[in-house]
């Protein structure tokens, strides 16, 4: 056993670019600890790498009787009001939910070594681990990178995980397998210069067909539905959907875009989105507001214009041609489920958790994960099961489950037994029992009520009644968010809830707003309607009353939404009304604390959310690179590697110059010749880079070093270069400030 680091051990296993980014993040952490990087810039950087804040990370917590200060050590913050030592959440991007057995094993290891041995599947097919210390995140990223998983742009104002139907490739209703295209979009957009300057996040989703729910494209910022026209593969593209407090349905940008136009069109959308957002400067918004404001026709026109001006990129076609379909080779030949004795519980499980594939003799098996959670041990057992019976491949789902594909029907009994032995063989997958929930007050800073506590309670009560439940009730979906931000996708459920609070008897009582009649089908085609708030502790009775009313008054095979629409809002409200009242504290104290909690309820623990990312300019983000190179240069100097130190210092000046150039010319390459020549004409020759005292002195440092590299490098030369580079980076900051304030002044003069 040696003292090697993960960085050394995994060096050859990581993509070199990814490895370098992670090293950069490592040095940004070091810079922040030294107080050499601003807290907002650092927060933006970390969010972009999937490192989120978590509840109580401002060091305050209500313990049920009083507000307490959590005595974290006094080191720099990791963002505004976010203490360094406070545990946080890491979101791990899983494009279209595809995960291999090996990847799952590494995720399991990381959950044990950096978190609490729980892997959590999110409503956008990601994994999350909680209670992670920031200093463990670089190694976490390295271990994931070694199996080709990234956390980059899992949070922050960027392109988030690309989601897609978990049945892609095996589904009976799909037009074609969307997974390779989802992967292509992910590869193309990840770290793309055009997605770095969004005012808000951008969430893409792919669906293989129009009418099912799996892709949920209608609620996404960008949605892609597989279509074939005249024998050509392509996509219907929709934009501007989204949930949140004001949910929007996406509008059609194009009825058919051939596959080779998919990436450039998305690049054009990204540019329009980034630019329009920026025009309004501090008033940026999700794309849904933009499209709603300017209209889809105008948006379309702008995208078409933008598309024409894009510099050509070979990857537009190379990434989407000759794509291998992702459906894995099955491990066993397709077969029939043999008749005979079945283990206890098999029939119920088969009924809800097994779905026939397009390929004869195979099935998709759903793992009904409670609240999206599985343990590290369960993940390892699942990896074994996947290897043995389903050709290695799994998918996560937006219902916070996982699926195994290509399970031969002949193996279903064995798979059921293995899953059951591992504690992941629960029946009732994708039924009313399989409640979805966002993190809520468990870990989210914005949580108002305990969505997970409620979900756990409902799951337990509904599971107990599942065997005797009418089929129509069993088929319903319940989804819960801890607040109006809708991370739990409550708008899409038959019965949805989001957390809020009410004052009763001089105290705060946790409540949930009831949202009824959302449409899961048609790719999340319709959103539910708000009916009023009920106290948290009454929700199980409310669910029962609603389902009873549905069973009693349902006409024919009427859907729940149909029932809600026909009954009308007023009568629906009558059903929940008896549950709205809260008895005084002395009579019913249980109403005054939340599920899975015993503390008297308060909303005092609410913190500042990090959903949108910090607002840092494009320059701010870019120049961080320069600063971390400068930091690495100093390390190299200390270690006596003078050539490396000198070179890093030079490269840090190039990065800072590029940050400035990109304010005006987004497509500048990273080639030093290009950067220096653009810098010279745009900032140096016209003296914009000059300051009152030093004039062009600092700019000249870069020009001179670029013109002639030193023949031999000793400590003196390296130290001098480092000093020069620091002055240059300072000057770049000052230059950006002057430009920024000039534009604000110009704006003020116009107004």
């Amino acid at each position: 056993m040696g003292a090697e680091s993960w960085k050394e051990v995994l060096h050859d296993k990581m993509d070199a670019g990814w490895a370098e980014e992670i090293d950069q993040f490592d040095s940004q952490m070091a810079l922040r600890k030294l107080g050499k990087l601003g807290e907002k810039v650092f927060a933006e950087t970390r969010l972009r790498r999937g490192v989120y804040g978590q509840r109580y990370d401002n060091g305050k917590r209500h313990d049920g009787t009083a507000d307490q200060t959590l005595a974290f050590a006094d080191v720099p913050t990791k963002g505004p009001e976010t203490l360094w030592d406070a545990p946080g959440m890491c979101r791990i991007k899983i494009p279209f939910g595809g995960v291999s057995a090996e990847q799952l094993e590494v995720l399991a290891d990381c959950s044990e070594e950096y978190s609490d041995a729980i892997l959590h599947v999110t409503t956008r097919q990601d994994f999350q681990i909680h209670y992670v210390h920031i200093e463990d995140t670089a190694d976490l990223m390295r271990r994931l990178a070694a199996v080709n998983i990234t956390t980059r742009e899992a949070c922050g104002n960027s392109v988030r995980n690309v989601t897609g139907c978990p049945l892609a490739g095996v589904c009976k209703t799909e037009t074609f397998d969307i997974s390779p295209y989802a992967q292509a979009l992910m590869t193309f957009m990840l770290g793309h210069p055009d997605v770095q300057d969004f005012g808000r996040k951008f969430k893409p989703a792919f669906s293989g067909c129009e009418h099912e729910a799996c892709g949920l494209v209608q609620m996404h910022d960008g949605g892609y539905v597989a279509r074939v026209v005249d024998g050509k593969k392509g996509f219907k593209i929709v934009v501007g959907g989204g949930l949140g407090a004001v949910p929007h349905q996406a509008a059609v940008l194009s009825e058919f875009t051939p596959v080779e136009e998919l990436l450039p069109v998305m690049q054009a959308v990204a540019r329009v989105f980034a630019r329009l957002g920026e025009k309004k400067n501090r008033n940026r918004a999700r794309i849904k507001f933009l499209v709603a404001k300017i209209g889809i026709e105008e948006f379309k026109r702008m995208v078409e214009e933008e598309r024409k001006t894009l510099p050509h990129d070979d990857r537009w076609t190379s990434l989407v041609t000759d794509m291998a379909p992702t459906d894995n080779e099955p491990t066993a030949p397709g077969a029939e489920l043999a008749p005979g004795d079945r283990p206890d519980g098999f029939a119920a499980w088969f009924d809800t958790n097994v779905r026939a594939q397009r390929q004869d003799g195979y099935s998709v098996v759903t793992l009904n994960l409670p609240l999206g959670d599985l343990t590290a041990d369960q993940a390892r057992s699942l990896a074994d099961i996947a290897r043995k019976w389903s050709g290695d491949n799994m998918r996560t789902t937006v219902e916070q489950n996982m699926v195994l594909r290509f399970v031969s029907n002949g193996d279903l009994v064995a798979v059921f037994e293995a899953l059951t032995a591992a504690g992941i063989g629960a029946a009732d997958g994708e039924t009313i029992v399989d409640v979805t929930s966002c993190p809520g007050t468990d870990t989210c800073k914005l949580g108002i009520a305990a969505s997970r506590g409620l979900a756990s309670e409902l799951r337990q009560r509904l599971a107990a009644k599942s065997a005797s439940m009418p089929a129509a009730v069993k088929a319903l979906r319940v989804k819960i968010s801890g607040c109006f931000n809708s991370c739990g996708q409550h708008h899409l459920a038959d019965i949805g809830f989001y957390g809020n609070s009410r004052k009763v008897d001089g105290r705060t009582v946790p409540h949930f707003q009831v949202i009824l009649g959302g449409q899961w089908g048609e790719n999340a085609g319709k959103y539910g309607m708000a009916m009023g708030s009920v106290p948290s502790k009454a929700v199980p009775e409310v669910v029962e009353a609603l389902t009873d009313a549905y069973v009693q008054s349902r006409e024919g095979d009427e859907s729940f939404r149909g029932f809600v629409e026909r009954t009308g809002k007023r009568s629906m409200r009558e059903i929940i009304k008896p549950f709205m009242k809260v008895a005084p504290y002395a009579e019913a104290p249980e109403f005054y604390s939340d599920w899975s909690d015993v503390r008297e309820f308060t909303i005092g623990d609410l913190g500042i959310g990090e959903c949108a990312g910090e607002m840092v300019s494009l320059f701010g983000i870019e120049v961080v690179k320069a600063e971390s190179q400068g930091f690495d240069a100093q390390i190299a100097l200390e270690e006596g590697d003078f050539e490396e130190a000198e070179d890093l210092a030079y490269r840090s000046m190039i990065s800072a110059a590029r940050a400035l150039v990109r304010l005006e010319f987004i497509d500048v390459t990273e080639t030093p010749d290009d950067v220096v020549s653009e810098f010279k004409t745009r900032y140096f020759d016209n003296e914009r880079f000059f300051d009152r005292f030093a004039k062009g002195k600092f700019g000249q440092y870069l020009l001179d070093r670029h013109a002639t590299a030193p023949d031999s490098i000793d400590r003196d030369i390296a130290s001098r270069r480092i000093e020069e580079s620091q002055l240059f980076i300072e000057a770049a900051h000052a230059c950006e400030l002057r430009i920024e304030s000039a534009s604000i002044l110009a704006g003020a003069a116009e107004a």
Partner: protein, 192 residues
């Protein structure tokens, strides 16, 4: 070799009996409020919905305490999380002590009805880089486990490797006493 994390679990007297995890939510919130166990305590995480999961966890900055159901055997586990150097014997003693003190606090609370066996401790090194679960890995810490067993349980204690056939799991051992002493006796031995 110093691992980044060490866990120590003391099993329930009847480890396979059903545990009412919800009772621990109240107990752990009170531990935070009253600072009844060591460490910077932050919050309570409820995993009662997960079969054989971490149960209910009292999340801390430097140490977590949980009513852990892993492997279908309930017990109280202390997990030291922010270890930065030191000497393995001292670190072991410290985590064992924290675990035993937490068990003591649970028993003093009395509301959960759970009793513990003081004859067996599971100790794991949760760090696949520094402490891989290989035969050499185990051989190099076996003497440390044996010494720890002696310090906690006195003469005649034995050590059994756990998960030796599963290299993906973390390295660990169970330390077994040849007689059953009470908590205070074990704690007193560690004080020496």
């Amino acid at each position: 070799m110093i691992p980044k994390r060490i866990s120590v679990k003391l099993f329930a007297a009847d480890p396979e009996a059903e545990v009412d995890l919800h009772k621990y939510i109240r107990v752990f919130h009170e531990f935070i409020r009253e600072k009844k166990v060591e460490g910077l305590l932050i919050d309570v995480a409820d995993y009662s919905h997960v079969p054989e999961g971490p149960g209910v966890v009292l999340i801390g900055h430097d140490v977590d305490y949980s009513i852990d159901l892993n492997g279908g055997r309930a017990g109280l586990m202390a997990l030291a999380k922010r270890i930065e150097g030191g000497n393995l014997a001292d670190l072991f003693d410290d985590v064992v002590r924290k675990c035993l003190l937490a068990v003591k606090a649970v028993q003093e609370d009395g509301s959960t009805g759970m009793s513990f066996s003081t004859a067996r401790l599971r100790v794991q090194l949760v760090d696949r880089l520094a402490a891989p679960n290989s035969d050499e890995g185990y051989a190099s810490v076996q003497p440390e486990f044996e010494a720890l067993a002696g310090r906690v349980f006195g003469d005649g204690a034995t050590v059994e490797r756990v998960e030796g056939d599963e290299p993906r799991r973390v390295l660990g051992a169970e330390l077994c006493a040849n007689k059953s002493d009470d908590l205070d006796t074990l704690l007193a031995r560690l004080e020496r």
